[in-house]
Symmetry: C2
Subunit: 268 residues, 2 copies
Amino acid sequence: MKYKRNERIGALAFILTNNPNKIFTYSYFTEKLDAAKSTISEDIVIVKELIEKLDSGSIMTIPGASGGVKYIPKLSAEEEKEFLCEISEKLSNPERIIVGKFVFMTDLIYSPDITDRIGKIFASRFTDEDIDYVVTIETKGIPMASMTAKALNRPLVVIRKEIKITEGATVNIKYMSKSTGTIQSLSLSRNSMKENSRVLVIDDFMRGGGTIDGIKSIMKEFKSEVVGIGVLISKCSDELKETNKVKSLLELKEIDDDKNILKIVPSE
Amino acid sequence: MKYKRNERIGALAFILTNNPNKIFTYSYFTEKLDAAKSTISEDIVIVKELIEKLDSGSIMTIPGASGGVKYIPKLSAEEEKEFLCEISEKLSNPERIIVGKFVFMTDLIYSPDITDRIGKIFASRFTDEDIDYVVTIETKGIPMASMTAKALNRPLVVIRKEIKITEGATVNIKYMSKSTGTIQSLSLSRNSMKENSRVLVIDDFMRGGGTIDGIKSIMKEFKSEVVGIGVLISKCSDELKETNKVKSLLELKEIDDDKNILKIVPSE
């Protein structure tokens, strides 16, 4: 089927946006859009400039035989700032305080328009880390980790808290939760990931860092390295964050049930 | 900022694709793309025809004061067929059999390029059902349910198997698993959804239907109705599926550890 130039631009924007971080060869497009390679090259330049004009990521062209073109997603600076302010405000409602210590947030962190944007933000923060897998622990971080994996075009790995029959042979470890003082279990299927991988960990909340230590130790069993950690909300020292290469989007500054105060703000 | 026609077509395709089932007003686009309403109308007609030409869903224009335009995602017939065949083939590897009865599939059903397509297929199957929430049970169905929720632009609700402190006040029920004969628990935060809602349930596997009964009974506590059920793989009677308005993408036809046979095929 023949496409006019403005249709080709629309089709390229459509296909690239739908498949972030996936490399498409020029021949894929010449065939799909029935156009010469030189024509497609010109079209891609237009799409590249357009995405920059919209401040919504970038189009990268990869030279060479295995080369092609891919879309790297990113929220515009303005959209990211507005989004983080908006979600901080919603989360800072004192009615969300649970037993003086926890914040009710599943209504927000499962919502796809929120997780989609969180995923794009995390993907853009860790885009240079050469990630092989996005790893999370069940349950609350799974939707945002799914969207991060989609934005990075990398497989998702979900660590279970119990040994499950449907996971087959598993690797299991125990660790101490620093915030509750209890022993926790982690379990991961032997077949869930390849060894010698670079992983990005995504989670909804970070406090004492015990879970992070647990994840690192189970990753060691897969000879794999945690090269970055993205958390939505952190309540821990800057030192702990630096040591663990943690990037958090929001900070829990204050939570006090008696005084009815809950203060969550965007990270600096 | 001024945009040329082919840039506007690209921008419209980009924005609409990134936000499936979200209604954008014409004024949003006239402002964003600095163009007259009549110009944007013409551009949208071009994008509409383009999406049809690509057989990748449709652009719907909603008339009236609260009107606008939205993108309804759908895989092309050919892409959907190829995808379901490909995933059936991958799942039918007898090495995936676990203790004679279960299928190891987390490596596939967490992969974002697979869950993204599953989400779009489910969204297109239930697009006329006027869904308020996409509901799933932890853990394995969450990534595909997230993507379905994204494609339908509806909030996701995740039912937990245990009562969790971070969920606040919860509604809890017990049910009997028909396939294992054990008592199971379901728990859902009071604040997770509004009453009188129409919900679409998404899950990875359906056997005896006990879980479906459990979900229906917890939904009744929210005065809400299950208007459709989308499962990736089913192994149950057509009658059970019809009674429960179940649409399954794949069928588990045969599983036999001794004979080394695993047969999963696309549903008819």
